[in-house]
Every structure is written in C-alpha cells, then in structure tokens.
Amino acid sequence: MARMALSRPLKLAVIGTAAGLFSGLFGVGGGTVIVPLLVLWFGYGEHEATGTSLAAIVIIAAYAASTQGAFGRVHLLEGVLIGIPAVGGVLLGTWLQQRTRPQTISLLFAILLVGVAVHMVIE
C-alpha cells in the first residue's frame, strides 16, 4: 500500500468499499480486508485495528444477514447452536488478545491470510 495523499475520510471510504466489494465478490469476511489495511495504510495499532474491524463487521453482517434471511437461506437453529459457543469464544479471544503483543497478532493474522488465500485457490 503505497502512501497516497488521500484525506482520512476518503481512505476510510476506500477501506469500507473494498471490504464490502471483496465480501460480495468472494464471500470472504470484511475483516480480512479491514484489519491489514488499517494497520498498513492507517498506522493503526493491531488492537485498535481488530477492535474497529469488529465494530464495522456488526453493521456489515447485520445488513447481509437480514438480506440473506429474506431469501430463506438461513438455518436459524444451526446458527444459534454454533453462535452461542462462538460468543463464549469471542469473550475469551478478546480477553486473551489484550495480553498478546501487537507483533504476535500481526503474525497470526498473516497465517490466517495465507490460509484463506490457499483455500481460495484450491476450492
């Protein structure tokens, strides 16, 4: 990401649009786009990037879930069954993250990106 002379709101707009575009195109979550762009392009710390990303995902996922629900694709019970332990997991994950060095978060994120990239190529 070369340093471009874009104003801050414009850069945020680019990140948001890119995150949405890629999730619409490939079904990957917006977080995989938002977090690295905030870190590499905005100079966000890893903790702030991941926290801000989660807050943005609330909006994105709520919108996407409501439109998908209209198409009758959502299996509500299964979503709840997997969602409840996941809420426990996110409590644990955010707690653990506060005790994790920023560099470690970036390295783990890089592993996630490689995994997603490999999955996209082989599927």
Binding site: G16, T50, Y63, L76, V90, L91, G93, Q103, M120
Partner: protein
C-alpha cells in the same frame, strides 16, 4: 452437535484475537458438521457473526480499542461495496479474480510479517539508530 460447539468456540476465539467475523471457520463448520449446503452455510454463518461481532466489539470498546466513527464509516460503505460486489460477481471471470485476490492476500501477509519483525518488542528498548 459437539462439532458445532467446538468449531463455534474456535471461530469466536479467532474473531476475538484477529478482529474478523469468524465466517472463515463457521462456513466450513456448518458444511462439515451440520451438512448445510455451501450457500446455506454462508447465509447461516452471517447470523452467527452478528452476535459474535457485537459482543467482541463491545469488549474491545471497553478496552478502548474501537474508533467508533471510523468503524461506522467503514461499515456503512461496506454495504455499498458488497452490493456492487455481488453484482460484479455475476459478470466478471470469478476464477481469475480469486487468483488475483489470493495473490494480493499473500502480499499483504508478507507485509504484515515484515512490519511485525521490524518493530521492536513492546518493552521500551534503547532508541535504535536503525
């Protein structure tokens, strides 16, 4: 059932640690353990992501890690982007796009690693001459 619980817990952990929704694990989990079709798994995954992101964002907000106006702008514009993305997915060559995007992700991963390895640890060391 047990598979659902384990994958849910793992997805939540990844969401909390890395600031993603957890769909990266929800979708394969719902396909493998609950036998949903890919399309249904993606839709159902979104329903699970909402409470996960909400609780994760709330926790991060309490820790002081959420820049609320930035998140609101990114989230809102993502919806515009997603609508365009879905429309574009129908007219563009998907395979080529996926390969391009995968390559871009590898590049970003490399840059994250390079940045992480260049940075000094969290403990304040002597000012290096770098």
């Amino acid at each position: 059932m047990i598979g659902s619980i384990v994958i849910g817990l793992a997805a939540g952990m990844v969401a909390g640690m890395l600031g993603v929704g957890g769909g990266v694990l929800f979708v394969p989990g719902l396909v493998l353990f609950v036998s949903l079709s890919q399309v249904d798994a993606e839709a159902t995954s979104l329903v699970a992501i909402v409470p996960v992101a909400l609780v994760g964002a709330y926790q991060q907000y309490r820790y002081g890690n959420v820049r609320v106006p930035d998140a609101a702008l990114i989230g809102t514009l993502s919806i515009v982007g997603a609508i365009s993305g879905v429309a574009l997915a129908n007219v563009l060559p998907e395979r080529a796009l996926k390969l391009g995007f995968a390559a871009l992700m590898l590049l970003v991963a490399f840059r994250l690693v390079r940045k992480a390895l260049r940075e000094p640890g969290t403990s304040p060391g002597p000012a290096g001459s770098d």
